[in-house]
């Protein structure tokens, strides 16, 4: 008989990154007994990797900034596929969330007047990102962590127990959401990694804040935790995922050496004279300037090189084309056999700066440091090998914008695991503020949901038994396959066939391959170790065996949605459907599970996008809306031009200005550094 521990909470938050911690803080502030369940130690979540900053229209650096400008930038970045209500809430509430962090002890960089400094970033019209050097994510995590400690100290003073109302379950993994007979959430099932002990957390409300899915891909900037747990848990509990085809790939991640594979190489390397070359030494980007950009980009290396010093009289080098163009070009070079030895291309600044090596170190200090310390590569002497890296998933759990509630009663989601906020493409800086705004809202939503319940749902014994059997299964299989080998193949499949550039044939191939992998995932096996309950103490092979189920489900969701959407938009590029379609913009692709519950498959449904509220639509000029919307959707109908009244003149002017800026900034959008 397997021993199972039981604990009871009002709200259980899965994930201890920015969104999870903010949700837990809110639930505790609402008087709810709250647990945070984290796969890692407290304070190690992937949020620490965020560098650039948190976007919030505080107007500290440019007083013209306000939520409406931020809203417009966000919608443009997402190519108008965003949940406009989420984008609105995000733009309106981000400043309060940043100021709140400051009262919890965060120390942002300052302006001369002593306010929080804000920096420029791709896609943002004004300097908007609150930051701490290039370690903003760490500051956010640490501040939220310390706020949690402060709340625990309050509880200690009152109850003599730090964990009376808010407990962090570090190194604990959830494998199942539990539902009662009415279909309401009644708790979660998981294991403590250290001991392998099983735990049932009884709770009427659960907040998913598990981050992304990058570990389903071979080359990713994401850490091991990013196995799509929340996405899969939601699916398995009857929830839905929105627009999973939108996955952000950064064109320049490192591919070599292996120790830094996938880690981002900031776009400013290219902005600071860095050039891309293939194995034959050609500066190949000149061969990849699309017709629509011919006017704006240099046609010869000489002209491109003059641009850095004299941008007014020269055209910019094609290394600075929009990210999807650069990524596509790199992809083509590699496929044509002109890649670097490790499947990327060369990015180099060697001999590119007038001040030589010293100037490289001065202009790119963090890159120099990163390569030197992590890879033993001296970028003043050697080229870097780079290729596209999986960075962020825009798709995620379909939620109510205001409360973060998923379709399953009692289930909430916030942060990267939730969908809608970023549309088809996220702007850099919008992630950290997203975590705070919607983390808080989900914590609040969960608390209100608990308040509205008449009785706590009970945990049925059979669902616990089923979850236990599932978790123990890898030990039961004789001659089970090595989970590491299956994982490697899954990552290879996703990378090659569902990567940055997609084609119908390859996607079909991927779906077939995933079907075969499904059988192999069901047959992975591990042996018990010497310690812990049933030999499950700190057992990485077993952990991976269980995570594979989640990665497989999200991979199927991404591949099927990518096959369905026959257009290219933001984080979804179809080689066979290169254009953006206003008709497709109206369609959300929604994934759910169907079929035999013991071996369910991902099913897709088309769901109309909710038309934008009129007052929000009016923040844009008609000329801009025409690029995205069908004629019927435009204000005033197909024939009508929007009338611009006197009162709106200023607004329209601002919008026109921002349009110009956004066009320039688009080349740099979604930049995380």
């Amino acid at each position: 008989m397997t021993e199972i521990e039981r604990h009871s909470y009002d709200v259980v938050v899965i994930g201890a990154g920015g969104a999870g911690l903010r949700a837990a803080i809110e639930a505790r502030l609402q008087g709810k007994k709250t647990a945070i369940i984290s796969k890692s130690l407290f304070g190690k979540a992937h949020t620490v990797m965020a560098e650039g900053g948190a976007a919030a229209a505080m107007g500290n650096v440019n007083a013209n900034d306000n939520w409406m400008v931020h809203f417009r930038d966000t919608m443009r970045g997402g190519k108008f596929m965003n949940s406009w209500r989420m984008a609105e809430l995000h733009a309106k509430e981000a400043p309060e969330r940043i100021w709140e962090l400051e009262l919890w002890g965060a120390l942002f960089d300052r302006t001369k007047e002593g306010k929080i400094s804000q920096r420029n970033f791709g896609g943002h019209e004004y300097p908007r990102l609150a930051h701490v050097g290039d370690r903003t994510g760490l500051e956010l995590i640490r501040t939220a962590q310390q706020k949690i400690v402060a709340l625990q100290q309050e509880d200690h003073a009152e109850h003599g127990d730090y964990e009376a109302n808010l407990k962090v379950w570090a190194e604990t993994t959830v494998t199942r959401l539990l539902k009662d007979a009415d279909g309401k959430i009644c708790g979660v099932f998981g294991y403590v990694r250290e001991t392998g002990k099983f735990v049932v957390f009884e709770a009427p409300a659960v907040v998913l804040a598990t981050g992304g899915i990058g570990k389903a891909f071979k080359v990713t900037s994401n850490s091991w935790e990013y196995t799509g747990d929340g996405h899969a848990l939601a699916l398995l509990a009857g929830g839905t995922l929105l627009n999973m085809e939108f996955v952000q790939f950064h064109p320049t991640g490192m591919v070599w050496p292996p120790s830094v594979k996938g880690i981002l190489v900031t776009e400013s390397v290219r902005g600071d004279r860095g050039v891309l070359r293939n194995s034959e030494g050609d500066r190949f980007m000149f061969d990849y300037i699309p017709e629509v950009f011919k006017e704006q980009y240099a046609t010869s290396p000489e002209e491109g090189d003059r641009w850095y010093d004299d941008p007014d009289n020269n055209k910019r080098p094609p290394e600075l084309l929009p990210r999807d163009e650069v990524a596509r070009a790199i992809n083509s070079e590699v496929k044509a056999g002109r890649g670097s030895p490790h499947g990327g291309v060369f990015l180099t600044v060697v001999d590119r700066m007038p001040g030589g090596a010293a100037e490289i170190v001065k202009r790119l200090p963090s890159m120099y440091h990163q390569f030197k310390e992590l890879a033993d590569v001296d970028i003043t002497k050697e080229a870097m090998e780079v290729g596209p890296t999986c960075h962020y998933v825009m798709g995620g759990v379909e939620v109510d914008p205001d409360t973060g509630a998923a379709l399953v009663p009692g289930l909430f989601a916030a942060g990267e695991v939730s969908g809608g906020m970023h549309g088809s493409n996220r702007l850099g800086g919008n992630s950290l503020s997203d975590l705070l705004v919607f983390g808080r809202r989900a914590g609040l939503g969960a608390s209100e949901y608990v308040d509205g319940l008449e009785a706590r749902p009970a945990v049925p014994e059979d669902v616990v038994a089923a979850a236990t059997t599932e978790a123990l299964a890898p030990f039961e299989r004789e001659d089970g396959e090595n989970p590491y080998a299956v994982h490697a193949e899954l990552q290879q499949t996703m990378n090659t066939l569902v990567g940055i550039i997609r084609k119908e044939g390859e996607l079909e191939e991927a779906i077939a391959a995933l079907g075969k992998l499904r059988e192999r995932v069901a047959n992975v096996g591990v042996d018990p170790v010497a310690v812990g309950d049933g030999g499950r103490g700190y057992h990485p092979g077993w952990h991976l065996a269980l995570d594979l189920r989640n990665m497989l489900l999200v991979s199927e969701a991404v591949a099927k949605a990518a096959l369905e959407r026959q257009e290219s938009r933001g984080g979804h590029t179809r080689d066979d459907h290169p254009g953006m379609s206003a008709e497709w913009r109206k369609i959300n692709l929604v994934c759910s599970l169907a079929g035999d519950p013991s071996a369910p498959h991902v099913e897709l449904r088309r769901q109309p996008l909710t038309p934008m509220r009129t007052d929000l639509l009016e923040l844009f000029e008609n000329d801009e809306l025409k690029k995205y919307l069908t004629a019927e959707e435009l204000p005033g109908g197909p024939a009508g031009e929007a009338e611009t009244g006197e009162a709106e003149a200023d607004e329209a002017e601002a919008a026109a200005g921002s349009g110009a800026t956004a066009a320039g900034a688009a080349e740099n959008e979604e930049g995380d550094r």
Binding site: E96, D109, R110, G133, L138, S223, P257, P258, P483, G537
Partner: protein
Amino acid sequence: MSYEAKFKVWRGDDGDGELTDYTVEVNEGEVVLDIIHRLQATQAPDLAVRWNCKAGKCGSCSAEVNGMPRLLCMTRMSTFEPDETVTVTPVRTFPVIRDLVTDVSYNYQKAREIPSFDPGDAKPGELRMQQVDVERSQEFRKCIECFLCQNVCHVIRDHDENKEEYAGPRFLMRIGELEMHPADQADRRNIAQDDHGLGFCNITKCCTEVCPEHIKITDNALIPMKERVVGRKYDPVVWLGSKLGIVKKGQDTPSA
């Protein structure tokens, strides 16, 4: 460019374990954590190691490589000769859970005992601080909590009995960070000495040496804190002034 390296990795749980020999492939550009991962994938699927970002930013993969406290992800294989045996052991100051994973809960306990940031009655968005003033504490907030400084500190490295009364460099630095925070209203000078053991530190700078973030823990946090504590406890003018009732001592903040 690849070769077969000899590794000794500590395997076992608390109190019971041994160094196990492995011969494992090493390729150009790899770090020790890559080799540990290769062992997991090919020879020892149950080898326990804690890691996360693999970019020196989260501070999870602390261990000792040939006896030196290091982050496994920041220790390049090229720093060893191909015929050199690389020995990887768990950090010594904390109890082993299994293999390279240790129980670091001591640190989370200490974190809870330090009174939190206290902004007084400041309102959201109203704080005004100069860059030069926030930079002192910002240096300490670079800390990734890898706890290598805690591991190497001789006050507790071989003296479990001191753990009760000593918060270690990481958390004495946290007190320093709050003391130097321009907006903080509390006074933790007394408890730094009385409750958290600042006096144990005899500034050998071992903590500074192992810090992967290159924070000058001793020079910029611990020594200035010692000076502040002396100022609080022993300044003769303050002492006399308070006796005469013309200097009012601030309120000492108790430990949490």
